[in-house]
Symmetry: C2
Subunit: 334 residues, 2 copies
Amino acid sequence: MAKIDSREVEREKLAILRVLGSASGAIGSQVIARRLRDEYGIELSERAVRYHLGLLDTQGWTDKVSRRSGRVITNAGLEELGNARVTDKVGFVSDKIELLAYQSTFDVNRQEGLIPVNISFFPAAQIKEALKAMAPVFRAGICVSDKVAIAESGGNLGGVTVPDGYTGLATVCSIIINATLLKAGVPMDSRFGGTLQYRQNRPWRFSDLIHYSGSSLDPSEIFIAGRMTGVSETARRGSGKILANFREVPAMSLPLVRELIAKLEKAGVRGLVDIGESGKPVCEVPVGLNKAGLVLCGGLNPVAAAAEAGITTRNRAMSGLMDYRSLMRFSEIA
Amino acid sequence: MAKIDSREVEREKLAILRVLGSASGAIGSQVIARRLRDEYGIELSERAVRYHLGLLDTQGWTDKVSRRSGRVITNAGLEELGNARVTDKVGFVSDKIELLAYQSTFDVNRQEGLIPVNISFFPAAQIKEALKAMAPVFRAGICVSDKVAIAESGGNLGGVTVPDGYTGLATVCSIIINATLLKAGVPMDSRFGGTLQYRQNRPWRFSDLIHYSGSSLDPSEIFIAGRMTGVSETARRGSGKILANFREVPAMSLPLVRELIAKLEKAGVRGLVDIGESGKPVCEVPVGLNKAGLVLCGGLNPVAAAAEAGITTRNRAMSGLMDYRSLMRFSEIA
């Protein structure tokens, strides 16, 4: 009999929890097995999935809704997912970026398809105040796009259910740029997320940064939770700190990159803050030889402004995909 | 004439600001030149230092107190220091750990010398409440040592002046363990800071982590600011998340490491949470072949408990050195 590697089992178990955690409702072993293969490259038979589910039920992390409709993840399961295997989670942010870029089907010419979004939750009682704090930020263009989606508690945003007592907001994530480049055959290296200082309405320099490869947490969520941004101030006075991230592309792809960025702008995606030349620093960040740096605006900047106004926000950066055509202009909802 | 490298000049200028930023009062070009050499390995003549200071004065970042006593850093200078050259700041945390370990003169046998400390500031009006929140944490031993120092506004802690309206608290930093090992010839690799989950009074696993080499911010300060800890809960119920960090030593040094840790414990330094065997994971973190992992308690855990109680804290992790004999037991001040 083959020796069972307990770390391998642990990895499979967690992948199943992740699949359930990102599902919008109950799903069965067949769907789970397919998603494991497509999203995690894990080949498990339906029978093996059912075996794991039995163990997960015992631990209280999953729950059998019915024989027909399958399993859901429990609150204990979600908590386990949040804490488990931190070494798996390092690099998880980079993986998530890659996965979402790959899954996006956005066609920049036809302006349709699935695009990557961040989901944020605001206490329902504070949503008016939150929208008010976000409006000037959208107007100043400190966002990836002014297209958003909003849902009341119980509603669904990109496969995520809005919890009781909260209102959910989906904002376009800067991974849309990775996705568009990837589809055109340009590989994009996502290096770090940081806070970018503006002065006189111009991007200046990064003041803090966290590498995606060295953290189990999303940098934007860290900077929002730690109140390290000054997005409202930047929208108002042209100087302050906003959420931004740094990417690298092969320098020889620059002409194509510029062309794609121009098309994205036409489609209403204006996430590019600055772009460098071959081997030249951008916003004081050096790049490798034969590389060019891109500074992208953080999609969560409007939400950061709401947090600055003292509103409690819960964020799930890079949390799913939504149909571009289902989004509305922020000005239509606020 | 030699070509002046503007990045080199920038680096020298920042190093001077850092020297001034860590000084307890005004210092002159002679002292600055010596500290640049000793602490940053930068060889500059006094004349060159004075030239830089002239430029820094012009930018409003330093101020000439008198010809005799020299320069101080201004608030604008401190702000510049906080924002400048983020790529210099990545790895700055690792550098700070190394520097403090090297500068510490603590003699574990004689129980005397300079030890590395964290400095925290609390609003003076809330210090009683803060001490109350910290007491159970010190009692539960969720700290590096129960030795502390306290100072009112205007007072000095390890070379740092306590600002107006605040009370300062110095806590022993886990770098004391790096320092003790280093002096005995054991190299210690500081990998990351994280939140460590406890259950049933036992360390279990890291739930989040940030690599020192991938961040411009100190991980402990991030976890405190983002309210990601449950230190009070851990002190009370034996389960929750505390600040901890992960180090690696060569596996062959383990017998010596255990001996030194035992001596440190006798001296009242109990920062070790867990220690692994050669090549074996500790708290679910894998280590390299021929390496052993050490999980150390974060020195700022008591302060995290105060932050959990809603008290505003300003922290400067790993901020200086203090004479071990000048510290008092926490129970004597609270």
